[in-house]
Symmetry: C2
Subunit: 341 residues, 2 copies
C-alpha cells in the first residue's frame, strides 16, 4: 500500500494512525491507496498492537451550541483524517453528567479527551490525574499546566479597528456584549489598540458594553449617535448586535457604509448575509480551532504534550457594510483578499 501511494512505510503508518505532521495531500493519498486495497485493520487488533484504542472523547462543558458546533466539527475532521473515532458527550451543563461521561470514556479506554464549551471564565480542570491527555478548546482550564486552545479575540478586534481606519473612518464607535465576558473586553482592547496606532480614540469616548442581542444593538446605536452624531463607523462585538445597529441606521435614514461603516464579529453566515447590507465581520475560525485542538491532542497522545494557552488567528471577511466605498481608499479592502463566507 505504501508502494501504491508512493510513500515510505513509515509515512503510510503515520497517515493511517493519524500521527506525524504530514501534508494533507500525502495523508489523503495514503488513505485512498488503503481504501483501494480494501485495507481496514480490525479496530480491536489495531488497538491491541498499538496499546491505543484510536478513540477520543469530545466533551462539552456546557452544551453543544452555535459556537461549540464548529469546534466539534473541526476536531472530528482532523481526528477522522487520522482514523481516530470520536465519542460525542454532551454534558448539558450538568456536573454529575460530566463525571459520568468521564468515567464512561475512561472505561472505553479512550486515548485522550477534548473539552469544549463557552464559558465566561476559565473552568476547573475536568479531573486531576487523568490517565490520558486532555486539551481544552474554546474554554480555558484554570490549571496553566493544561493546554487550552482559544480564539484570538484581541487580534480579531484589532483587525476590525485596523480595517475601519484603513477605509478612512475617523469617528469609530464600539458596541459589544457584557463587560464580564473576557471576550468582550479582549475584542474591545484589540480595536482600541488599532485606533490608538492611528492616533484615534473611540467615538463616544468609551466602549458601550451591554447584551449579545439585536435589541441592544438598536438601543446602543441610538445612544452612540446622540452622543457623537458624526460617528462614521461602528465595530460590534457580535453579528447579532451589528444587525440591530444596521436596522437602527436604516430606520433613521443613515446609509451603510456611505454614512456609517459597520463591522461585526463571528462571521455567523445566516446573520451576516441577511444583514442589510451584508455584513463585514471578523471570523474567529472556530472550525480551525477545533482542528488545532485535535492535532494538539494527537501530539499529546504521542507524548509531545505542552501546557499553556494557544490562540488561533481570526481573519476579516469583507462584505458590503464596509466595501461599497468610492474614493482613493477603496483599494484597501480588496488587498485583504478574503472569501465572502
Amino acid at each position: 500500500m505504501a508502494q501504491r501511494a508512493g510513500v515510505s512505510i513509515g509515512t503510510a503508518s503515520k497517515a493511517l494512525n493519524g500521527r506525524g505532521n504530514l501534508r494533507a495531500e500525502t495523508r489523503a493519498r495514503v488513505l485512498r491507496a488503503a481504501d483501494a486495497l480494501g485495507f481496514e485493520p480490525n479496530a480491536l487488533a489495531r488497538s491491541l498492537l498499538a496499546g491505543r484504542s484510536f478513540t477520543v472523547g469530545l466533551l462539552t462543558a456546557d452544551s453543544f451550541g452555535r459556537f461549540s458546533i464548529p469546534v466539534l466539527l473541526g476536531a472530528e475532521d482532523a481526528l477522522g483524517e487520522g482514523r481516530v473515532s470520536v465519542f460525542l458527550c454532551d454534558v448539558r451543563g450538568d456536573p454529575e453528567r460530566e463525571h459520568r461521561y468521564l468515567r464512561t470514556l475512561l472505561s472505553r479506554r479512550v486515548d485522550g479527551i477534548i473539552v469544549t464549551g463557552r464559558r465566561v471564565d476559565p473552568r476547573p480542570p475536568v479531573s486531576k490525574d487523568l490517565p490520558v491527555p486532555v486539551v481544552y478548546a474554546m474554554t480555558q482550564s484554570e490549571d496553566r499546566q493544561d493546554l487550552s486552545v482559544l480564539p484570538d479575540d484581541e487580534g480579531g478586534g484589532y483587525l476590525a479597528g485596523e480595517h475601519l481606519v484603513a477605509i478612512g473612518r475617523l469617528k469609530i464607535g464600539h458596541i459589544t456584549g457584557p463587560e464580564r465576558f473576557a471576550c468582550s473586553r479582549r475584542r474591545a482592547n484589540g480595536a482600541i489598540t488599532a485606533l490608538a496606532e492611528a492616533d484615534l480614540q473611540l467615538a463616544g469616548g468609551e466602549v458601550l458594553f451591554g447584551e449579545w442581542s439585536e435589541g441592544w444593538g438598536r438601543e446602543a446605536a441610538a445612544s452612540l449617535l446622540e452622543r457623537e452624531p458624526a460617528t462614521d463607523a461602528i465595530f460590534c462585538g457580535s453579528d447579532q448586535i451589528a444587525r440591530g445597529v444596521a436596522d437602527h441606521l436604516r430606520e433613521t435614514g443613515r446609509r451603510v457604509p456611505d454614512d456609517v461603516a459597520l463591522v461585526g464579529f463571528d462571521n455567523w453566515d445566516v446573520m451576516a448575509e441577511s444583514c442589510r447590507p451584508p455584513l463585514s465581520t471578523v471570523d474567529p475560525n472556530l472550525t480551525e480551532l477545533g482542528r488545532v485542538a485535535a492535532r494538539e491532542l494527537l501530539a499529546a497522545i504521542e507524548g509531545g504534550s505542552t501546557g499553556g494557552v494557544r490562540t488561533v488567528a481570526a481573519n476579516l471577511c469583507v462584505r458590503q457594510s464596509t466595501s461599497a466605498l468610492a474614493g482613493p481608499l477603496a483599494g484597501a479592502e480588496t488587498s485583504l483578499g478574503l472569501p465572502a463566507g
Copy 2:
C-alpha cells in the same frame, strides 16, 4: 444496586443497558444508585458478556448543520441514558467519506447506526446487507423496508393554519421555500387543509413558493399584499422567511399582529426571538425526533425492528406576532399553553 435503587434486578439491568421502556425517573434512580456504588462495568467485559459493544454510529448524509444538530443532540441524549456511546461521523456530503466511515464503524463493531441529514428527496440506503440495524432520522431511505423518522411537516402546517383561523383571520396567505422540497409542499398542504375546514382559501389564490431567505420573505410579502391588500395573516414556511415578511410589514406601516398576524416554521430561537415582534412559529421538535430515532434503534438492536416511516408531531409556539389581539377570540391562544422557547 437494584436494592439501593428500589427496583428489580431486571429493571436495573434494563436501565444500565439502555433497554426496555422505563420511565425516565426510574432509569435516573438506577443510574444514580450505580454511580453512588461506583458501579462501572468495564466496557470491554460488558461487551464480551453481552455480545454488544454498546456503541452506535451517528452519521450525517450531508454535514451537521442547523437542522441536524438538534437531532444529533436528542439521539445522543437518549443513547447516553442507556450508557450507549455515540461515534460522531460527519460525512460532509462526500460519498467516499461515507463509505470509509461505514467501514470504520463496522470495524469498531457498533451495534447500530443512525443516519441523519437534510435532503430534498429520499436517499439511497447507506448500504445493503449491513450486519447491524440502521435508522434514518430527518432523512428518508428509498427502501421502504428501512425505518425513517421524519418531522410531521403536514401536521405542523395544519397547526399554523388552524391557529390563524382560531384567532379570527380570514385572508391568510402562505409564503414558503422552493416547491421542489417535499417539506415545503407538505407544510402548504397542511395549512390549506386547515383553511378548507373553515371554508377558507389561500389569500392571493396560491402558495408563494420561492427561497428559504429573508429577501424572499420581503419580496413575496410585497407581491402578496399587492394581489390581496386585505390579507390579515401570513403563514411562512420558515422563520427566516417570516422575518423578512415582518420587516416588510413594519417598513410599509402595517402593524403585526393587529393588521397582519404572522406565523413562522422551525422555532429557531435566535430568529424567532429577534423578530419584531417576536414570532409565533411551528416547532418541529427535532431534538425529540433524535430521541425517537435513538429509541427505535435500541429497539431494533434488541430485535424489535420495523420498517416504514414514523413521524414526530410538531407543536405551536405562540409569541406576540399572533397573540397581542384584543377581542372575543383572544382566549384561543392561551389554551395552547405552550412554552415560549
